[in-house]
């Protein structure tokens, strides 16, 4: 893949275009929500994507968390506003607040856990029913580093994803496998340069990124 979403913290690779940089860059921002059963690795995927880190024992998310990350595809700067939700069933009542108005969703399951795959299907159904009609949904079969003890077959999930119009990848927050790629694939599928349809169109010129050093992408 030609584009890399993050620079691993290495500052300033010179010519790279920043969101506040040259004007030929289009920029857009998308609201993305992560859904899925408890302990499938939602927060770990976000942590890997946003900070390039992995914790073996990631604390469970109580409520929800909000993070941002910016990537570049071709000449477009894409800023993801990421809503990472709690997986336990009873926190479900809070979920609509996060997927309402979301342009993208990653529904995560654990390839070692059949129940989590069934739960993912339920989330997909709920999104199709309740979320914005144009929402881009990706299905992530996480913990792919443990594929020797998988119970959910790749082909089964892939077929389900195809039948339901979802992007699909197996990912590993632990090794980083396909983590950036799944966000990139989503970014590519999202309509860009269409101000009317995008909730937040352009990033403020001084976009004070205290969260992360802005990634130098578009290399």
């Amino acid at each position: 893949m030609a584009t890399t979403p993050r620079s691993g913290g290495a500052a300033g690779s010179g010519a790279a275009q920043r969101p506040n940089g040259t004007s030929q860059n289009k920029s857009c921002q998308f609201k993305l929500v992560l859904l899925g059963e408890s302990a499938v690795g939602k927060s770990s995927l976000v942590l890997r994507f946003v900070k390039g880190q992995f914790h073996e024992y990631q604390e469970s998310t109580i409520g929800a968390a909000f993070l941002t990350q910016t990537i570049c595809i071709e000449d477009t700067v894409v800023k993801f506003e990421i809503w990472d939700t709690a997986g336990q069933e009873r926190y479900h009542s809070l979920a609509p607040m996060y997927y309402r108005g979301a342009q993208a969703a990653i529904v995560v399951y654990d390839i070692q856990n059949q129940d989590s795959f069934q739960r993912a299907k339920t989330w997909v159904k709920e999104l199709h029913k309740q979320a914005s009609p144009n929402i881009v949904i990706a299905l992530a079969g996480n913990k792919a580093d443990l594929s020797n003890i998988r119970v959910v077959e790749f082909d089964e999930a892939k077929q389900y994803a195809e039948e339901n119009g979802l992007l699909f990848m197996e990912t590993s927050a632990k090794t980083g496998m396909n983590v950036n790629d799944i966000f990139l694939a989503i970014a590519k599928k999202l309509p860009k340069n269409d101000g009317a349809n995008n909730q937040g169109t352009s990033i403020r010129p001084n976009g004070n990124e205290t969260n992360r050093p802005t990634n130098n992408c578009c290399k």
């Binding site: 941002t68 809503w83 009542s93 004070n208 990124e209």
Partner: protein
């Protein structure tokens, strides 16, 4: 590492928690210079009242309330918490409850599995806690079977875990957990979380009333109060604020009840008003709530933070009427 080298404080606190990479040793050292003296003074005062014959900890008069607000010394916490909360009295009425729950023939597998998944991810950075995981499991599984309406709610692991660290006693932790879940914040942890949703709405209204400019920033940026404060309310600040600050808050919670949770939450907003107002986008705002203000010098100074909590004007009657309004107006948050 560099930061600790020049500090007299270890990178692990007295409860076994690793201090974060951004821990401000300098500010902490400055705070502790004064606070150690306060701790010694409080310890002597508490010793004196606890030595009094037939001193009744379950009768919280003005003097005892004042003492509790100024902090219960660590070694006395387990017993004092048990008595001031009424947990000890409840235990006396049903002394075999905990044991009998652990002797149940079979535990619900789904509940047992979800507790087991959370054990290794409860306080993974605490150097003592590994040895307490079996006890934590016992407390949570016993409680889940005692209160079927709640079962196991994620977040209870942090409350029970911290209770276990402080009391070092499974059964006391069980009774204190039961007291929190049933008497302090009932229906927060149950399947529909009805009262949590109601109190998030109440809290928002309180912010609107006390620090309207802050609410405008939060609302304009589109950060829901549920993202900011769900964990505060569900965990009563465990695994949110620095441990000593949480314990000082819990001292008051056990004596005075749910109102303290609102005081603490509101104090978070009031003491960080300027920082919130300075945020220019939602990313900065979310980062402030998630990472910065849960470990800065304002909240690390537990004594100062408690003082800030009690400097706020807040009456139970106001909270009750806001709760009624929120119940009528269920669609908000």
């Amino acid at each position: 590492m560099d930061a600790t080298a020049s500090s007299k404080f270890s990178d692990v606190d007295e409860y076994g928690f690793k201090r974060g990479d951004n821990f401000d040793y300098k500010a902490y050292s400055k705070f502790m210079d004064g606070y150690l003296k306060t701790l010694t003074r409080r310890r002597m005062k508490w010793e004196a009242i606890l030595q009094q014959k037939d001193f009744d900890l379950s009768n919280i008069d003005a003097k005892l309330k004042r003492y509790i607000r100024k902090g219960i010394p660590g070694p006395y916490r387990p017993d004092v918490w048990m008595k001031i909360s009424g947990a000890a009295a409840a235990q006396q009425l049903n002394p075999n409850l905990y044991k009998s729950l652990l002797e149940l023939e079979q535990f619900n597998k789904e509940i047992s599995d979800s507790i087991s998944i959370d054990l290794p991810r409860t306080f993974p950075d605490n150097i003592y806690f590994d040895t307490k995981k079996d006890s934590l499991y016992n407390i949570l599984i016993a409680y889940a079977h005692h209160n079927r309406d709640v079962g196991y709610c994620q977040g209870l692991n942090y409350i029970a875990g911290l209770l276990l660290i402080v009391t070092n006693d499974e059964e006391k932790s069980f009774w204190l957990l039961k007291h929190i879940v049933e008497n302090i914040v009932p229906q927060y942890h149950s399947h529909n979380m009805a009262n949590l949703l109601r109190d998030l709405a109440v809290f928002k209204e309180l912010v609107i009333r006390r620090v309207p400019a802050v609410n405008r920033v939060v609302e304009n940026m589109g950060l829901p109060y549920a993202v900011i404060a769900t964990k505060w309310f569900i965990c009563i600040f465990a695994e949110v604020l620095p441990v000593e600050t949480v314990l000082r808050i819990w001292d008051c919670v056990f004596a005075e009840g749910y109102k303290i949770v609102f005081r603490a939450a509101l104090a978070m907003f009031v003491t960080h008003k300027n920082a919130i107002l300075e945020c220019t986008d939602i990313a900065a705002l979310a980062n402030l709530f998630r990472d910065v203000m849960i470990q800065d010098s304002i909240v690390t100074d537990c004594h100062g933070f408690i003082n800030a909590m009690f400097a706020l004007r807040l009456k139970r009657s106001e909270l009750e009427s806001l709760r009624k309004l929120a119940a009528l107006n269920k669609t908000t948050t």
